[in-house]
Symmetry: C2
Subunit: 283 residues, 2 copies
């Protein structure tokens, strides 16, 4: 495989990753992951959480459906993890309460369901629960999230937005996420909902963010060094704006944005990518 050479360090910024402060794996999932066949993504999560010794905590807050967490509980128990518990957080008081915090203390894996990511940011942002999830990840606990649960993992989160291939101003709304990882923006249901336009517009607005667009039934495993690996059925689209030119600061209202020199990577399952050097890992 031909791989672009690593750039000289004096010429190109070594992109800051949270590797220095994070030890646990992150696993954003693009939504609609297989729950019936080999359940590859969910099984990989359970394995990384400890396999038969895994103690999984499921957070269904993003969903307004009462049973959202129970479905995952049944799946993980079917994989013979040691335990799988659903923790219910329906308000900021819940997210600050001792019994909710206690649930996470012994977890070896935390799983955030899909739904509406604004429920997560509005109810859990800035609470003790957010802090214990961050602390858990820092001491090595894997944190996974699907769809809304994937978006919330990063510091900057897509909250709302429009579909379409052309980047436009005001195409997507960002909100602060949980900040388990900085310097990336995670989008999901990516090609299924045609979200390349909004990801380009977000990267153009600040190319310090690396765009990760994750397809359905596809996930990325982000290790402690900021190296990611794609698993699942489809692909992950990475938008690197390091050398981008855009006129986003001159566009008015909801106008279309010119984007030039965005570097695009489409990674199929098994591919690995180093977010620090923003390049494919050989082999």
């Amino acid at each position: 495989m031909s791989v672009r050479e690593a750039p000289a360090s004096t010429e190109r910024l070594e992109h800051e990753t949270p590797s220095a402060i994070r030890r646990g794996v992150l696993m954003p999932i693009g939504g609609a992951e297989d729950k019936f066949d080999d359940k590859l993504i969910l099984a990989t999560f359970a394995q990384l959480a400890g396999g038969k010794a895994a103690r999984v905590v499921i957070v269904p807050t993003a969903s307004s459906i009462e049973t959202a967490g129970l479905r995952y509980k049944a799946i993980f128990l079917g994989m013979e993890v040691e335990s799988a518990e659903v923790v219910y957080i329906g308000s900021r008081d819940d997210a600050n309460s001792e019994h909710v915090i206690d649930h996470v203390k012994d977890a070896t894996g935390i799983f955030l369901t899909g739904g509406n990511q604004m429920r997560l940011s509005a109810m859990i942002g800035g609470t003790r629960f957010e802090q214990v999830v961050r602390d858990a990840n820092e001491r090595g606990v894997i944190v996974a999230g699907t769809s809304a649960g994937a978006s919330i993992l990063s510091a900057h989160m897509v909250a709302l937005g429009a579909s379409g291939g052309t980047p436009k101003l005001r195409m997507a709304q960002m909100v602060a996420g949980f900040g388990l990882i900085s310097n990336v923006i995670i989008d999901q249901h990516f090609r299924q909902r045609d979200r390349i336009g909004r990801l380009l517009s977000l990267v153009a607005s600040n190319p310090g963010l690396l765009g990760l667009g994750i397809d359905e039934d596809t996930a990325v495993i982000i290790d402690e060094h900021g190296v990611i690996e794609v698993i699942g059925r489809h692909s992950v689209t990475i938008v690197d704006g390091s050398e981008i030119f855009s006129d986003i600061f001159q566009v008015k209202a909801y106008g279309e944005i010119t984007v030039s020199n965005a570097r695009l990577h489409l990674l199929t399952p098994g591919r690995r990518f180093d977010m620090r050097t923003r390049s494919l890992v050989a082999g």
Copy 2:
């Protein structure tokens, strides 16, 4: 003066501040600071940058007006600083170039002018210049910004938005800023442009962010412990959403948002506020 008691640490989150990784003062200014009379805010910046020993670097990138930086240069030279230089960054190539980086190496104070904050995020976000500004602040160099230059300082930045007192969904667009400070969102021209609605909507979307609304000709000095002091002519509005209730995740389109239990602080010049405990400092 009556001050709310510090809450017990087990009951209330000690809000994370970047104090652990930052040593230099930050000074966001609400725009339209006095440039003719006593120039209190600009003189305070020059003083904190070293007074007669200050080596000031002015970054006019936010402005599309060629002379924006020169005006500040004349003002700072009039205050008898040792040097005041304007560094021109009009593209991402500029922001990665050695001669631009060199300008900052000996700076004792960095000043970002007003204009359009998307010019700053789009041209400088993720570049070497952003990194050297962050490094400079970490080793003790004061970084100040007015208007757009104030907004860009935080990790989450208001990029675009509407005026008005009622918070609404999609009222403001956030973009990633330089991240010299986390967990706050800085708004400027605050009461002059009636921006309380948008600040409330942003805090409601993730109450982990403390809202700072800075009036014109007013500034806050943020020390290395996350304690702020107000200076200038008008006030600073702080929105603390720790105990907020909102229905932001149920609102559709551009609907109005219910916000309850937002804690508001209006701080006049001379007042000090501890962002870690989110409370007024006595005395």
